[in-house]
Amino acid sequence: MSGIFSSSLGKKLIMSITGLFLMLFLVVHLTTNLLLLVGDGSLYNRAAHALATIPLLRIVEFLLAFGFFFHIVYATIITLKNQRTRPIGYNKTASNRVTTWPSKNMYILGFAILAFLVLHLINFFLKLRFGEAPYVEGTEMHNTYLLVSSFFAKYWWYNLIYVISAVLLGLHLSHGFWSAFHTIGLNNNKWLNRLESFAYVYAVIVAVGFTIIPIYFWFAR
């Protein structure tokens, strides 16, 4: 295993594994968030409380932070190296039929998602962990439902930012999903098109799923 992570393929392996982990997280995050749309929000509050208090999940939270950290750091290392490989560019470039826009702009999309992530953590995570988030009356449990629903009912521009970010995340995933499997070697002629199709399905589910929430609370206000 010596020196695997100093090679270009080793660095890509880190991107791939952290990417797969983050995509798994998105599934959990979206599933939990969709509970916002169910009933009076008590189910969502209990789910959010459980996720924040179960000791094992606090460890997973650290893993998640590490996942984001390595995904971002190695994306930067790889992008910087790749940018040095063509000192003189072409005068004229034409597009081909298979290369997608997201595949060529993963770092830009990733950067936009990182900017959103910072905002998102300030909006919710920091308030819940360190700030003055509301509690469900008579309990030790945060009223996360109230925090989220009132937030999305209040500022239309925040809703717009959340919707745009969900779309950008979807674009990132439309390439990232199949690319992650491809990089770890789980691909062949038969699975290439299948994985690309799954990537689009996954990306649309995530993008639409996260878009529904701010729109729902805006119109339900």
Partner: protein
């Protein structure tokens, strides 16, 4: 037909190049692209000018010499052809054709449209072969090979090493080239013996020579004149990680 040509001219590796514009007034649509360049060169020579340097050899799409970046794509816009297989009938009368050399730090320009592709040879020397004692050829059926493997190895072996993959890739990555060479041998019993060492050495050499990493944009596959699939890159990744993890 009439053509306006914008061609990259560069005296030598150290000089700074620039585009020169040339006009051809009466070329036949039946001419091949390289014949058109030959014709242009004969005109330049008659005028006492330096002819345009470009690489060519077999002129039948198998040697991989004639790599030119034409109108924004390696080997032109036709797809699955080499430059020598392009004809002027593939272009519109009166159009402008921009011709550039491959652009990559690992493929420095030697002169005009010629680039130094020694980097590919260095990668091949690092492990793109099988060590075997020469002797009389053994019976063809002595080592059975499954048909799907034989077919896929053959597809990979159709790589002519032209460098279009590097030229097309936004990262100037040589992954499709190496994937084809690794796959061609990894799929056959004769190649399995040295498979682990081979993949490690070829990838290390690729990194050392300054090629970029693969970001799976599929541009290489789209521009490969032999239509080599990026599924070979997935195999290269598998082979590499398996070799590295077994160290």
């Amino acid at each position: 037909m009439k053509l306006k040509l914008k061609i990259w001219r560069q005296k030598d590796a150290k000089s700074k190049g620039k585009f020169e514009t040339y006009y051809l007034d009466s070329v036949s649509p039946e001419m091949s692209f390289l014949e058109m360049l030959d014709y242009l060169n004969s005109q330049l020579i008659l005028k006492g000018e330096d002819p345009i340097a470009f690489e060519h050899d077999c002129r039948e799409g198998i040697c991989g010499s004639c790599g030119l970046y034409i109108n924004g794509r390696p080997h032109g816009l036709k797809g699955k052809t080499t430059t020598c297989e392009l004809h002027l009938r593939d272009f519109k009368d009166g159009c402008t054709i921009v011709v550039e050399p491959w652009r990559a730090a690992s493929f420095p320009v030697i002169k005009d449209l010629m680039v130094d592709r020694h980097a590919f040879e260095k990668i091949m020397q690092a492990g793109g072969f099988i060590s075997t004692n020469a002797g009389a050829a053994q019976d063809a059926n002595a080592i059975p090979v499954a048909k799907p493997n034989a077919d896929e190895a053959f597809d990979a072996a159709s790589c002519i090493g032209c460098g279009a993959c590097v030229a097309a890739c936004k990262n100037s990555s040589a992954m499709l080239f190496i994937a084809a060479k690794v796959s061609q041998l990894a799929l056959l019993p004769q190649g399995r013996i040295e498979a682990k060492e081979r993949v490690k050495r070829m990838v290390a050499k690729m990194d050392e020579l300054g090629f970029g990493g693969c970001t799976n944009t599929r541009a290489c596959e789209a521009e490969c004149p032999k239509g080599i699939s990026i599924s070979h890159i997935a195999r290269l990744n598998r082979e590499y990680y398996a070799a590295k993890f077994s160290d």
